[in-house]
Amino acid sequence: MRIRFLHTEAFRLSAIYAGIFALSVLAMGSVVFVMTDRALRDQVVQFSRADIAAMRNGFDAEGVKEAREVLQQIMGKPGESDFFLLQKDGVPIAGNLPAMPARGGIVSLPGSGPGHDILGVGEFLEPGLYVYAGSDLQRVHATEEEILQTLAWLFALAMLLAIGGGTLVSRSFLRRSDAMARACRAIMDGDLKARIPVRGAHDELDRLAGTINEMLDRIAALMENLRQVTNDIAHDLRTPVSHLRQRLERAREESHDAKDYAEALSAAIEKTDEILQLFASLLRIAQIEGGARRADFTQIALGPLLTHVRDMFGAVAEASGHHLELQLGADVTIRGDRALIIQLLSNLIENAILHTPEGTAITLLLSRAGERALITVNDDGPGVPREEHTKLFQRLYRREASRSRPGYGLGLSLVAAIAELHGAETSLRDDSAPGLGITLSFPVTLQPGAG
């Protein structure tokens, strides 16, 4: 954890911020220090100048004696300079400093020891008569040290905050990226349902996690689809293939003449065709679900298309004692694959014809609701119990009641796949009227000038 933490992006960023922070605190501290130092020294010089001014006043009024008097008066008083010297021609007259080379202006002297150097001002009262007043810088140094110490504490505190904050931020970041990595690893290990936790903060990590989760959902759906197709093929081809085998075996055992053989062979070919048909349907569904066909979409006027479908199945429905009626409530144009829409409608109508008793009325209905085109295939037959509604569109789901009829239960899953490809929603009528009603709601193409 500790080592890994050093390699995180968040740590790198917080280290950079801490560095910048430290530099700015240092720069500010230096400025404060230099300005304080200057102010303190200025103060010392001011004191010296004031003391010297007092001595000059004494000298100007009453000469050397008075200057000496003033010096002795102010020496040792608190709030005044610490060190004084009055010397004539290099010989000290008064003060607590030894003789020194006479220099005017601001003069620094080495003091009694390290940190005790003296800052002061020298002046000639008259040629040869030199006066000096200065202070021990030890107090200035002490104040400065205090300031330095405070700055150091501030610096330490700032660094602590920067590093601590950075650590907290990067640990939280690390925790979340670890959670992502864990989820990914779990998925790699086979737990396809694992998802990246979303904190609900709507931040960029949440958005990333959300996007990854959506991607995983999509992949899972495709995988599930693939898995199901594989399972379906494995399980559902087994049955017809074993039937075929049984028939062939029986033909070999029981056929007596050429006619028997010919019949057995015809039956076998028919069975084989059924198997191939099942294969083709499964492949077709997989192909449609793959979505590759969207490139072939064209504008389809649904009115003429539904009329074509009605003409195609009207006679068929009548021949089996059903009644097929077309109700065009609106002519709507959608974008889609004409051949697939025809296949979808054929499937629904054929279902209605094949799974309802004679005398059932089947209605094919086109209407428009806002931006959706609604195609409904409705019948007043026995219908499907509500608890079976959700299963209807599953691949290879066959209602118990229809198992004796030909077919492999792929019709409605093909419908579902085609609907999905077209962005259409499928819904089943849910009222007390008899029969089954399936409505497909397609997004309508905006007519030029209508939008």
């Binding site: 492949l283 077709r284 072939d296 003409d311 068929v316 051949a339 296949q343 054929e350 094949l354 030909p406």
Partner: protein, 223 residues
């Protein structure tokens, strides 16, 4: 007819050759696209049967190449791919018809007959068989001078049968060409419409024109 078969699966090829030869056609067969292209350029064939997936040059490119060279020999594509897209691509690439494997031999024979007939024929505006007549411009049909009222889909059905008069058309050919259906419906669309059509054009007119060919399809024939 002299037919060139370009098919890399030798077992399928042998079956097709057998079927075509049993109908009196002479068949030349090659097993890859490069040789297929060479043979198609070298000889005069009545029809080409071309598999879509071939080693060397694939079937679609082969036919596109031939068409680009101005060769109009009718082409029937064979494929194991069942997607509608492949069919459309095949027809757009210069194929005349498209057959998905596996197929019944009757289907293959009917389609080969249909593409060789269709080729090079100008589009007539009137079709006739015995005393049955169709005017494709005015969209009328009559038999023995008596007008017959046909629904649009019955009209297209009769038109297709008449265009192929004297030749077997299969149920799948009718589904594809009359109704534009490229899947096998579970209801008897073809049978129902044919029976209606028959009742209109054959009933009460003496000789029947539309005949069912068992195991193969239908034929419109004036005996």
């Amino acid at each position: 007819m002299k037919i060139l078969l370009i098919e890399d699966d030798r077992e399928t090829a042998a079956h097709i050759v057998h079927a075509l030869e049993s109908q009196g056609h002479s068949v030349e067969q090659v097993h890859d696209g490069i040789e297929g292209l060479a043979q198609a350029r070298a000889g005069e064939h009545s029809a080409l049967i071309v598999d879509r997936m071939l080693p060397g040059v694939d079937g679609l490119s082969l036919v596109k190449q031939l068409r680009a060279e101005g060769r109009q020999t009718p082409v029937l594509f064979l494929t194991t791919m069942s997607g509608l897209d492949d069919r459309v691509a095949g027809l757009e690439g210069g194929g005349d018809d498209y057959l998905v494997k596996p197929f019944a031999f009757s289907e293959l024979l009917a389609r080969v007959n249909a593409i060789t007939r269709r080729h090079g024929e100008s589009e007539p505006t009137r079709l006739r068989a015995a005393d049955l007549e169709m005017d494709l411009i005015r969209r009328t049909a009559s038999r023995g001078g008596k007008n017959i009222d046909l629904q649009p889909q019955e009209f297209r059905l009769l038109e297709y049968l008449l265009r192929n008069a004297g030749r077997v058309v299969t149920r799948t050919m009718l589904l594809e060409n009359v109704w534009d259906l490229h899947f096998d419906p579970r209801t008897n669309i073809v049978e129902t419409h044919l029976s209606r059509l028959r009742s209109k054009i054959d009933r009460g007119f003496g000789a029947e024109l539309i005949h069912t060919v068992r195991g193969a399809g239908y034929i419109l024939r004036a005996d």
